[in-house]
Amino acid sequence: MKHRIKAENLAILYQKAAEKFGEMPAFAIRESALKWVPVSYASLYDQGLNLATGLIELGVKARDHVGLFGDNRFEWILSDYGVQICGAADVPRGRDVSDDELFYIIDHAGIEVTFVETEELQNRVLKLRSRLPALREIILLDPKTKAQPGVKTLQEVCDLGAALRETGDKRAEEHIAGIKPDDLFTLIYTSGTTGTPKGVMLTHSNMVSQVINLPGYHNCTDRVLSVLPIWHIFERVIEMYTLSFGGCTYYSSILTLGEDMRNVEPTFMASAPRLWEKLHERIKKGIKTSHPVRQILFHIAYFLARQYKNSEYFISDKYLKMKHQPTWKHALMLPLHVLRWIIVLPWYGFFNAAVLERIRLGAGGSLKATISGGGALPIHIDKFFNYVGIPVLEGYGMTETSPVISVRSIENLVVGTVGPPIPETKVRIVDTETGELLYPNSNLPYNGVAQRGEIWVRGPQVMKGYYRDPELTQLTFSDGWLRTGDIGIITHNNCLKILGRSKSTIVLSSGENVEPEPIEMRLQQSQFIDQCMIVGQDKKFLSALIVPGIQEFKQAGFREETIEELVSNPIANKIIREEIKKLTSQSNGFKRYEQLRDFRILPVTFEVGTELTNLYKIKRHVVEKKFSHVIDELFNNGSSQNN
């Protein structure tokens, strides 16, 4: 906390960071594995002022909305700086935006000036221009692309501003002084998992509160590796947080991640669960192909780490506490755990140093902590990283809460939960059916702890509302509380545990409510199942759509090159059937109505942008629509096939 900058708004944060950290690198852009270009705090702020002056000259006013379409690159950050210094808000979206969405966003947000990253985006916006009379200026980010007539380049606007500032133009500084805490810094359109894009209005005070309230101890020697889409709120909060302590953000990509982790040796990282799954897969593969003696050493090390950590969690009261533990039981267990902890300690110490450190080196070796967010982290992956000594802090939030509601901290690392709510944030658990307040409620046992219901949030990070949609805003809020639509409970050690999404709940014709996520996560533990989706709304039973892991099938000796060919392979179908049976059996804790009756192998994988959101969540309505014929056939034939 000591090293963190506190500022009233983001523009002042940029200014203070430039004063304090000056020539320290703020961002680093990859040119090749061992060649990165740093941009200092001072230079970034200076360029930001130039751009802002240029934008003001182009007619951008305080509280305007400026479009910002593109993906991770330095010019994106510069534009973000420029827009906020103007006192305006940017409206960001990635390159994968569809033409319809592009038109909708520019029109709905009333955008007059917009940045576009690439030639392709430039041409798409130009094509739409005739239907968008309000759109005055288009500014191209990519310096390697030629601007079409009527389009300015980012450099031109910066040069314009620089020339003006040399003549004593102080309008940018005036604009900074005019920013109010309640002004928007961004307007993010989310398509989320359902429906048409909604414009989430996030204010300077929303983001500033996050920067102050996030747990963590970092300073200007920290290196943050970034792989998330730059415009996503989860990435942006990490960026702003990094700016506040003077760290440097290194832009990596999924393709170069392994290499970059070893070269940059990041101390901090944030990503969606999918990335941790990939990393976990890679580490496991590395172990499997290593020398047999070392494999044995790893298994001993992992076993010891598990014993040691589990006792440590118990002793420090940091285990998943869904039920109340009677005092006598705790008193009985405690000495046993202390004993185990002491016996295992020297062995764990040795193996941790000799074996597990090698695993950590695969992830750079310097990671103090990592944050996972934007979806549920499968429990076995969560445990794996925490056991081998890479602390994973799972967090929970949504764009509407800019985004962090709760997150584990190093001191409060309860595996299986998303940690306690961050400071200044209040959480309620409300019954989805009756609307009754379950937590905190002094009439219920333990003040409503461990009661399951919808999560409601109130705090400084909660959005101002949906832009130009008061009805939806009203529906989302209830007495000043934001209704998240997620189902969760508060554990007995004051952590939040997410159980699923009320909107994705499947109601069977028998009236049973089923959360599909836990079943899907369970199925994905199979090496043969890459992705899957559970279906069965209003049906008698559940079934699954399966995207098989083609690589694993190949390794198992199958000759099929594509998933399409696998669909009709009876042996592949048999393997998957057995996997499903094994994983979701009643002995594994699944209820009878949670059993899957049937499944279909899909001929394609789920892709980001179509079936998946940018954080790899399934867009259920899209999959349902696209594969409606498969689902229909599944439920029409399902019963006969099983008889």
Binding site: T221, H291, A353
Partner: protein
């Protein structure tokens, strides 16, 4: 004190021999010819380490043995241990203590070779009084022999333990995967054998623990601790940066235990051999505990300058050698403030 029974049975000796072989093989497997070249390229840190290892440490051992009034065989063993080169254990501890592993490795290689010359000299200088005592007691019992330090035997034992090191290095050049395995296995085997020896000693010769004078325990624990302490402050005095101070400190305190076993078994006979082995076992046991504690402490204290060192060197790796990280005012600790390398080089010249 006299040992009435032999401490080690033949199969224990065989076990020790295997352990020595495995550990020295593992040590060789972790070394490359580059490590030897590094010693010549950056001799300053290694030289300070050399002074600390062969200047301070034997002197500490001698002083402890004298002050604590050691029985002569124990005294000779303590001085022998004090004059040993460093091993790979110190490299591992240095790594976790956020010290310079490169310097630790350089010091290990340099001292292993230098030991061939230094050990005979050091033993001659420091053990004179104690060998005379043994000779006197031998003559009192009617034996006609003088007790002398078997210098040539010690040198040949040292050369003998270098054979598995050379084999390890060869494996490293040829089969990387096996070399890694040998490295990982070595430490594990070492700990297992030491534990086995302690346990069997406890079961078979429980009285040994009681018979051993308290002073000997203090000496066995104190040798390592004093080595850490003086190594740390001696290098500090010469203006070495914290990163390298920690490496020198640990390298000074942690000696190559297996080599001491090899020398004692190959060069000394009863009645002194069992007592010397016993001290070597005690030292090897306590050093693991003391260096773990010291390492945890260094790790905590060294976090700040380690983070600065890491960040600076990664900036140079990614942004080019010329890039100079300019930390905000008041951030760098005083000692690093005037150092252009920000602690990535062993330290400013003071002599």
């Amino acid at each position: 004190m006299e040992f009435t029974t032999q401490l080690l049975y033949p199969h224990d000796q065989a076990l020790l021999a295997i352990m020595i072989f495995v550990i020295m093989l593992g040590m060789g497997a972790s070394l490359t010819p580059d490590d030897f070249r590094a010693v010549i390229r950056k001799p300053r840190g290694v030289f300070i380490g050399f002074l600390s290892q062969f200047g301070l440490m034997p002197l500490i051992a001698f002083s402890l043995a004298t002050v604590l009034n050691f029985p002569p065989a124990f005294a000779i063993a303590l001085i022998l241990i004090g004059s040993l080169p460093g091993g790979t254990t110190s490299n591992m501890f240095t790594y976790f203590a956020r010290g310079s592993v490169a310097l630790s490795i350089s010091m290990t290689t340099a001292s292993t070779i230098m030991a061939l010359f230094m050990m005979p000299i050091l033993l001659k200088v420091y053990t004179g009084g104690f060998t005379a005592q043994i000779s006197a007691s031998l003559q009192a019992t009617g034996t006609e022999a003088d007790f002398v330090i078997p210098t040539m035997n010690i040198i040949s034992s040292l050369i003998l333990v270098l054979v598995p090191v050379a084999m390890g290095m060869f494996i490293r050049q040829k089969w990387r995967d096996w070399a890694k395995t040998a490295e990982d296995t070595a430490g594990f085997v070492g700990i297992l054998v030491i534990l086995y020896l302690i346990l069997t000693a406890f079961i078979r010769h429980g009285h040994l623990f009681l018979q051993t004078p308290v002073g000997v325990y203090i000496g066995a624990v104190g040798l390592g601790l004093a080595g850490f302490f003086f190594g740390y402050w001696f290098s500090r005095l010469l203006g070495v940066y914290p990163l390298f101070q920690r490496a020198i400190s640990l390298e000074t305190g942690i000696q190559n235990g297996p080599v001491s076993f090899a020398i004692i078994l190959l060069s000394f006979q009863e009645p002194v051999q069992s007592q010397m082995i016993w001290l070597a076992i005690l030292y090897s046991t306590f050093i693991v505990i003391t260096s773990s504690v010291i390492t945890l402490r260094y790790r905590k204290n060294g976090r700040r300058d380690w983070n600065i060192y890491k960040n600076t060197s990664i900036h140079n790796r990614l942004f080019g050698e010329q890039y100079k990280t300019q930390y905000p005012k008041g951030f760098l600790p005083k000692r690093l403030l005037n150092d252009p390398s920000q602690g990535t080089q062993p330290g400013q010249k003071r002599f």
